[in-house]
C-alpha cells in the first residue's frame, strides 16, 4: 500500500483541479477549506451574539484570540516537524516551557522582558537544532522504528521538563510583568498584556503564513513536508530544510510559551506538557503535517475554549481541546486541511 500512498500525495495537486463531482454545488467544492472555516466560525460567532448577547460573546471572542496566538504558534512547529520528519514530537510542549524559563532567567540578569524573549527564542531554536544533531539525526540514519522515536521523544520531554524543574523549582512562578492596566475596545476590555499577546500572536501567525507561502524557504519546507522523496528529486537540500524546520519550530515554540506565560501571568514547569494536547488538537484538526492547517487549528482551539465559558464552568476549558482532538480523530482523522491518509 505504500506506493499508493505516495501516489496519492504526489497527485494531490492534480486532484484539486480536476474531477468536479456531478453535483449542482460542485463549484462550491473548489473553494479552499479556509473559506469554509472562516464562514463556519463567523456563523458560530453570530449565533453566540444572538444567544449570549454581544457583550459576552464579543468578550469571549477577544479572549479567544489571545489564546489563538499561542496555540497556533505552538502547533505550527509541531506539525512542521511531523510533516518534514514524520516525528510525533511529544517534547514540543516542553520546548515552550524551556523557552519561557530561559526568558525568565535572562530577565533575572537585568535584561528587559521582551529583548530577553527574543534571546530565548534564539536559544530555543539553537537547542532544537542541537537536539536534532545529537539525537534525531543518528536515529533517522539508523532507521529506528516508530516506537523508538516515540519513546525517545517522551524521554526528551522528561529531560527538558525536569531539567527546568531542577534549576527553577516546581513552584508556580509569576512572570513579573505589570498586570493591572487594561485596554478598552468599545464595550469590551482586555488587560494590556493580553492585548499585546493578541497582537503579537496574530501578527506572527500572519507572518508565518506569509513566510511559508511566499519565501523560498517556506516553499521548500512545505514541499518536503508534502513528499520528501519528490522534494529531493526536485533538488531541494533536505538537510538544510530540516535544520530550518527545527529553527522555526523551536523559535515559535519559545514565543508561544512566552505569550502563554504573559497572558496567564504565572507558570510552572508542567505548563508546556499540559498545553501539548491542545497543540495536538490544533495540528490534527488542521490535518497533521499541514502548516496552514495548524495555524487555523490553533485559532479554532483558542476561540472554542473561550466560547465554551459562555456555557460551561471555565475549569472545563482545557477539556474543549481534548474533545476537539478526539472528535477530529474519530470523525475526520485527516483534519480540515489534510490530504494525507490517516487510516491504515
Amino acid at each position: 500500500m505504500q506506493p499508493n500512498d505516495e501516489m496519492s500525495r504526489s497527485e494531490s495537486e492534480a486532484r484539486r483541479g480536476g474531477d468536479a463531482p456531478p453535483f449542482l454545488w460542485a463549484g462550491w467544492r473548489r473553494l479552499p477549506p479556509v473559506v469554509y472555516l472562516a464562514l463556519g466560525l463567523l456563523l458560530i460567532l453570530l449565533l453566540l451574539f444572538a444567544v449570549a448577547g454581544p457583550v459576552e460573546a464579543g468578550q469571549s471572542t477577544l479572549n479567544g484570540l489571545v489564546g489563538a496566538g499561542y496555540f497556533a504558534l505552538g502547533a505550527v512547529g509541531l506539525t512542521l516537524v511531523y510533516g518534514v520528519l514524520r516525528l510525533v514530537n511529544f517534547a514540543h510542549g516542553d520546548m515552550l516551557t524551556f523557552g519561557t524559563y530561559v526568558t525568565l532567567a535572562i530577565t533575572s540578569l537585568g535584561v528587559p522582558f521582551w529583548p530577553a524573549a527574543v534571546l530565548a527564542m534564539i536559544v530555543t531554536a539553537l537547542l532544537a537544532v542541537l537536539i536534532d544533531r545529537v539525537m534525531w539525526e543518528p536515529m533517522r540514519r539508523a532507521r529506528t522504528s516508530t516506537l523508538q522515536f516515540f519513546l525517545a521523544a517522551i524521554g526528551l520531554a522528561m529531560v527538558l521538563r525536569y531539567s527546568v524543574q531542577f534549576f527553577a523549582g516546581s513552584q508556580v512562578r509569576a512572570v513579573g510583568l505589570d498586570t493591572t492596566s487594561s485596554v478598552d475596545i468599545g464595550p469590551w476590555h482586555l488587560g494590556s498584556l493580553q492585548f499585546v499577546v493578541m497582537l503579537v500572536g496574530l501578527a506572527t501567525i500572519l507572518l508565518t503564513g506569509a513566510g511559508l507561502r511566499y519565501t523560498r524557504l517556506g516553499k521548500e519546507m512545505r514541499a518536503v513536508a508534502d513528499n520528501i522523496a519528490l522534494a529531493e528529486v526536485a533538488g531541494i537540500d533536505t538537510r538544510r530544510t530540516i535544520r530550518i524546520t527545527w529553527i522555526v519550530a523551536g523559535g515559535l515554540a519559545a514565543l508561544a510559551g512566552i505569550l502563554y506565560a504573559t497572558a496567564i501571568g504565572s507558570i510552572n514547569p508542567n505548563f508546556g506538557f499540559t498545553i501539548l494536547l491542545s497543540l495536538f488538537a490544533a495540528a490534527v484538526l488542521g490535518g497533521i503535517g499541514n502548516a496552514y492547517g495548524a495555524l487555523a487549528g490553533g485559532i479554532v482551539i483558542g476561540l472554542a475554549q473561550e466560547w465554551s465559558t459562555l456555557f460551561f464552568n471555565p475549569r472545563w476549558k482545557p477539556a474543549i481541546g481534548f474533545a476537539i482532538l478526539i472528535l477530529t480523530l474519530i470523525l475526520m482523522p485527516r483534519g480540515i486541511f489534510g490530504r494525507r491518509k490517516a487510516r491504515i
Binding site: P3, N4, M7, E11, R15, G17, D19
Partner: protein, 259 residues
Amino acid sequence: MSLAEDILAIEGLEKSYGGLHAVAGASFTVGRGSITALIGPNGAGKTTLFDLITGFTRPDGGRVRFEGKAIAGLPPHRVARLGLVRTFQLTRVFAAMTVMENMMLAPRDQPGESLLGLIAARGRHRQSEASSRDRAVALLRQFNLENKAGDYAGTLSGGQRKLLELARALMAEPRMVLLDEPMAGVNRVLGRRLLDYVAELRQSSGMTFLFVEHDMDVVMTRADHVVVMAEGAVISEGPPDYVRTDPRVIDAYLGRPAG
C-alpha cells in the same frame, strides 16, 4: 461463461488517486483451475488491482465476484477466509518468528486462535495444532525448507522468503492464490521449482493461480491464460500465443513510455 467455469470475475473495477486512474474500468475473468498471468508495463495498475481484489484498497467502482460472491469492499481478512489468498510483491514474512511459526499461523479456523476457543475447546485446539504441524512439515520439505523450520524467518535469503511466503499461503488451504511477482529475487533453480509446484497443485487439487510476472519466457511457458493491462485497463487477454502477437500488446510495451 458460467459460474462453474470462472472462479473470479472482475467487472469495471475502478480506483483513482487524485487525478491518476490507477485502475480504470478493468474487466476480466479467471477460469477455475487455471494458471493465469497478469502482465503489463510498470504502472499498469497490476498491484493496485491485487489490492482491490483482496480488500487492501477499497475500489471506487466496479464489481469483484469470487465463487459467485460479491467481494469488492470486503476487508482483507474476510476475503482471505473465503479462500482467496495473496502474496506480496515485497515479501512479507514475520521476521522475528520462526519459519515453523510462520507456517502455523496460516491455517484458517484454528480453535486456539480465539480466547473462547482456548478455554472451551482445549482438546480440539491441541488436535488442530498437531495436524497443522504435520502439514507444515510436509510443505516445508517440498519447498526444501525443512532444515530451516526452527530458524527465524528474518535469517532466510530473499529466495527462501518467497518460498516460505508461498508455502504459508498454501497452509491456508486456499481455493485461489494471487502471486505478486513470485519470481522476483529468486534464483532460477528455486524459481523453477516454485512454478513446478504451482503446476502440480493445480493438477492435484484444482487450485487456481493468478500471478503477476515480468519474465515473458515464464509467462509464455507456464500460463494457460494471459491478461494484459496498460494504464489501468485490460487491453488484451487470451492464450499466450494469441497475446504474444496482439498488436495492442506490442504497442503497450514498445509504443508508449513505460511507468
